[in-house]
């Protein structure tokens, strides 16, 4: 065999080595900058079944792009064909070159430029060659078809099911050009070689035959391979600085995540890794409702991540409503909400609040403590309904914030004021514990989320009122006369996406109303969120109108939500009535009889319920 070298391979080797060394350096830094606890998680996870799970996730997400397939078939095909097709070209090219060169250990460029070194017949195992050539041509065709979709997407993104596509950073544009040229360059270079020697399969062979028909391709073989090598070099040199850094970073993110590393409040190696793993695919742009309400403003998460990566101060970050729809839609699974939260500086607001605890009203012992939250005090209908429900259920309850002046601290946290939020939390924690209650019911998903995530309340169980009502219905503590109306449920961001409470409110809705006309899909943002303080009222209303028109697509009689803030935001823009789930329950509840005939049943139920509560407590 003649020597497997030609000067053009130097370009590729140089470019690839650069990218490879950058990646190794980055992986070491990402690992080194993890907090010690996360590092030990990774080290303990490596030799466990988690590695295999992560490997499978890498194949199904990084190569096959299952998540994007679920969203839109053509978009999934585009991503899959580019990633999986390219990967298979590398793998099969490697097998082919190993097979024919007879050596496992050879420079990397040999397999990349194998068709140049071995254009076709003349080797003893020639019978396998057409097979390899055909498989290689098939995967090249797969990649080229994906490339076709990618080009169409740039100009007409609706074809692949996207309303909008990402506006590119200049570096990304250069890298994109290089990437787009790689595969046509490969096709032409291989076709030139195949045309010269009369080899190749259905794609390279036919194109080579066509070339040979019109001119003598031999003098152009070397220039074509030089061009291919140069394009590869350009792509690999640009890779670390462009969005294509996600290609090597995404598997690392998947592995770290499988080992249990999460985005925390502090900037760690994992944060930097997440920024690199964002492929800027633009799925978050369509998920963001502000794309409709504030068209043309680059505030979506891919722009946000990009500005952080390029070490710029993110623009428009106070306009984000922190609804979390982008995070739910992200095919890579980047924790975008903690990343955004991290960028909000603590400017010391709220530190003047008195730190002494509120005197607790612990005159009599109660089981149930009700915390309405400041927002519910602006919709007293919810509080009145909850009072009715408590009375009807015969609960021994106490109203913690009857005076309306208590804060859970989450609005401060959303505005970046973590220190003040901590002070408020410590104060309220003491007050809650002082009542001696075993169950804390809140009407506000914003309060619920921070109670659940940050408060240390010991054995006190925390529920949102939709969960509480669901349990009352389940255990027959209240009775419902079913209404004939058709309702649609709006899932508040803090309750559904934020706290994972999706089933219970839907159960209540189907118990109250004859038909649940909630449109399928991810919950919407009402536009009233406390996450985006800089948004003006017009934009908020535009978001709310958009959400209402989507929610009322199936023509329901009324809209039910479980958040006082959503209710207030929707009411002015909705043509059909908007109700909180507590008000809906109170309006359908059979009042007065106190379920006397069901007393025995109730007692039984209460016993079981206590058992259940104990189980939950011991479990937690």
């Amino acid at each position: 065999m003649e020597k497997l070298f030609d000067p053009f391979v130097i370009l590729f080797t140089a470019g690839f080595s650069f990218a490879a060394f950058w990646f190794i350096y980055k992986v070491i830094r990402w690992f080194a900058e993890l907090p010690a606890s996360d590092r030990s998680l990774v080290l303990h996870g490596i030799f466990s079944v988690k590695t295999l799970q992560a490997l499978w996730e890498t194949v199904s997400e990084s190569l096959l792009h299952r998540n994007i397939f679920k969203r839109n078939f053509r978009l999934g095909y585009m991503h899959m064909s580019l990633a999986f097709g390219w990967f298979m070209l590398i793998v099969i090219g490697n097998i082919e070159s190993t097979w024919y060169s007879g050596s496992m250990f050879k420079p990397l460029y040999v397999s990349v430029f194998w068709r140049f070194f071995d254009p076709g017949p003349g080797f003893p195992e020639a019978m396998y060659q057409p097979g390899f050539a055909m498989v290689m041509d098939f995967f090249l065709l797969l990649v080229l078809s994906g490339l076709g979709f990618a080009m169409i997407k740039r100009f007409r993104s609706k074809v692949v099911g996207m309303k909008r596509t990402t506006r590119q950073h200049p570096v990304d544009r250069w890298a994109l050009t290089a990437l787009w040229m790689i595969f046509p360059a490969r096709l032409i270079a291989e076709s030139m070689t195949c045309g010269t020697y009369g080899t190749g399969s259905f794609l390279t062979g036919s194109l080579g035959y066509l070339f040979a028909h019109f001119f003598n391709p031999q003098p152009l073989v070397l220039p074509a391979w030089w061009f291919y090598s140069a394009v590869l070099c350009a792509f690999f040199v640009l890779l670390p600085f462009s969005r294509y850094a996600h290609i090597p970073s995404e598997p690392v993110l998947i592995f770290f995540r499988k080992y249990g590393v999460r985005t925390s409040n502090l900037s760690t190696g994992y944060t930097d890794l997440s920024l690199h793993a964002c492929s800027s695919c633009g799925v978050c742009i369509d998920a963001c409702q502000l794309s409709e309400a504030l068209p043309g403003r680059p505030l979506q998460s891919n722009y946000f991540v990009k500005s952080l990566r390029h070490r710029e101060t993110p623009n428009h970050q106070w306009e984000c409503l922190l609804c979390g729809r982008c995070e739910a839609a992200c095919p890579v699974g980047v924790s975008l909400m903690p990343l955004r939260q991290m960028q909000r500086p603590d400017s010391g607001i709220g530190l003047g609040l008195a730190k002494a605890p509120h005197p607790g009203k612990n005159g009599h012992r109660v089981n149930v403590l009700y915390f309405a939250g400041c927002m519910s005090h602006l919709t007293p209908g919810i509080i009145e309904s909850m009072k009715d429900i408590f009375t009807q259920a015969g609960a021994k309850w106490q109203f913690l914030d009857a005076d309306g002046n208590r804060c859970c601290g989450r609005p401060m946290k959303l505005a970046g004021q973590t220190e003040a939020a901590r002070n408020v939390r410590l104060k309220l924690e003491q007050d809650i514990k002082a009542t001696g209650a075993s169950l804390l019911v809140t009407s506000c998903p914003i309060c619920y989320r921070i109670f659940n995530e940050e408060y240390e309340l010991g054995p006190i169980r925390i529920v949102h009122h939709s969960q509480y009502i669901n349990e009352l219905l389940e255990w027959n503590f209240i009775r419902i006369s079913k209404s004939g109306m058709k309702a649609a449920y709006h899932e508040p961001c803090e309750l559904g996406r934020g706290s994972g409470i999706r089933k219970e409110p839907r159960n209540v809705i189907s118990a109250l109303y004859s038909k649940d006309l909630t449109p399928p899909g991810e919950g919407l943002c009402c536009g009233g969120s406390l996450g985006g303080p800089a948004l003006d009222i017009a934009t908020r209303k535009a978001v709310a109108r958009g959400a209402v028109s989507q929610l009322t697509a199936n023509d329901p009689d009324l809209l039910v939500t479980s958040c006082p803030l959503c209710k207030k935001t929707f009411r002015p823009v909705s043509e059909i009535p908007v109700m909180d789930i507590a008000e809906a329950t109170a309006s359908c509840m059979v009042k007065g009889e106190r379920l006397a005939e069901a007393k025995g049943e109730r007692r039984e139920a209460r016993g079981e319920r206590e058992k259940k509560e104990i189980k939950i407590r011991v479990g937690s």
Binding site: I349, G350, G352, P411, M412, P533
Partner: protein, 111 residues
Amino acid sequence: MKNRFGFEIQDNRQIDLDLADDRVNDEVSAIIRAWRSCLKCGNCAAVCPEGEGVYKLDLSAFLDLSAFQKLTGLDKCYLCGKCQLVCPRGIPTRFVIMQVINYMKEYGKAV
């Protein structure tokens, strides 16, 4: 002395423009245009859980930095956003408070 509408007119109705320093006001209203449209209706004060805060940003603060400095209630703000919900002019009051505090810190030393 009351006029015929029943209002009392005070003798001295001067504003000392030599002392006026509206840098904070300018910065804030450059970011939040709606800020200047405040009616002083008092809805925000009515719902404020802390009883102090945004409603203290009264007209005098438009002209005078020292008026901002007297707003001791601002650092007690919960940022709960109730004032924003009831504002008839739709002013993003939470953001106003955050910005005022930021600029106060920036200019506080200069004064």
